[in-house]
């Protein structure tokens, strides 16, 4: 089966995000006073093959733990959809 994995990687809440703080400040300066917090993360898409959805889930989890995320500071979540 072919799958498309959409992976979102974000900093753990305990980790300061100076980039997010800078973006929040810029949004405030632009007049978006309603913004109180910004966290910048990373989005990764992979096309892949797997036996079934459960296998695909395990493969993506392994990819995230091994390379795509640094679990010291980041957490990840992902969605899977069947792709043609």
């Amino acid at each position: 089966m072919k799958y498309l994995a959409c992976i979102q990687i974000t900093l753990k809440p305990s980790v300061l995000d100076p980039q997010g703080a800078a973006v929040a400040k810029a949004l405030g300066a632009l007049g978006f006073g309603e913004v109180s917090d910004v966290r910048v993360g990373r989005y990764i898409e992979t096309r892949m093959t797997a036996q079934d959805e459960e296998a695909a889930r395990q493969q993506v989890t392994s990819m995230c733990d091994a390379l795509l995320a640094n679990t010291v500071i980041e957490r990840y979540e992902f969605s899977l959809e069947e792709a043609s």
Partner: protein, 228 residues
Amino acid sequence: MRFAVVVFPGSNCDEDAARAITRVLDAPVELVWHQTVALDGYDAVIIPGGFAYGDYLRAGAIARFSPVMTAVAAHAAAGKPVLGICNGFQVLTEAGLLPGTLLPNNSLQFRCDIVSVRVETTAIAFTCGYTQGQVIRLPIAHGQGAYYADEETLADLRRHDQIVFRYDGENPNGSADDIAGIVNRGRNVLGMMPHPERAVHELLGSTDGAPLFASLLRSWERQVAHGA
């Protein structure tokens, strides 16, 4: 004492590290391409600064999967010295040879400067030639140098005397506990953001990095003498 300096695509302080070894120690040193699978015959390994694999994904994230890193891990497991400088420090944390990680500087700016660094422990091969608490001047050049680890890990580092260097005075990157360099529990893998290899000649603005290399050689000679 034979040194290897690992070269990744994107390393740019490899030549500086090799020259520092030659200049300070007059010891044999070789540049070793990252596809190398064995580091037998080398007594110390240096992972130099730079931008291995362009810092893609995260600094050091892809470099850690280079074939040479298996050999570096084996070298470290054998108790032999490994020194990671700047990007080399990032590679060592990504490889799990050192705890924690390096975050972007809290200023979000790349900092290129000479800073004051305090030697916090001399009970390792890398710093036995300094005195405890000595403040030295070393260059820094990094955008992602804020050492980060959770509270438990930081407490562990303090308990086991693993914090080797702290910034003295201004902290240039917002690192936890002003950390500039740490050593592993085995005390043979050192990671540091400042560049000792760029501080070995008056013309470079400081010679305070030279004792680090001299310390390594002296420790090794002592070890060889004891082993003989």
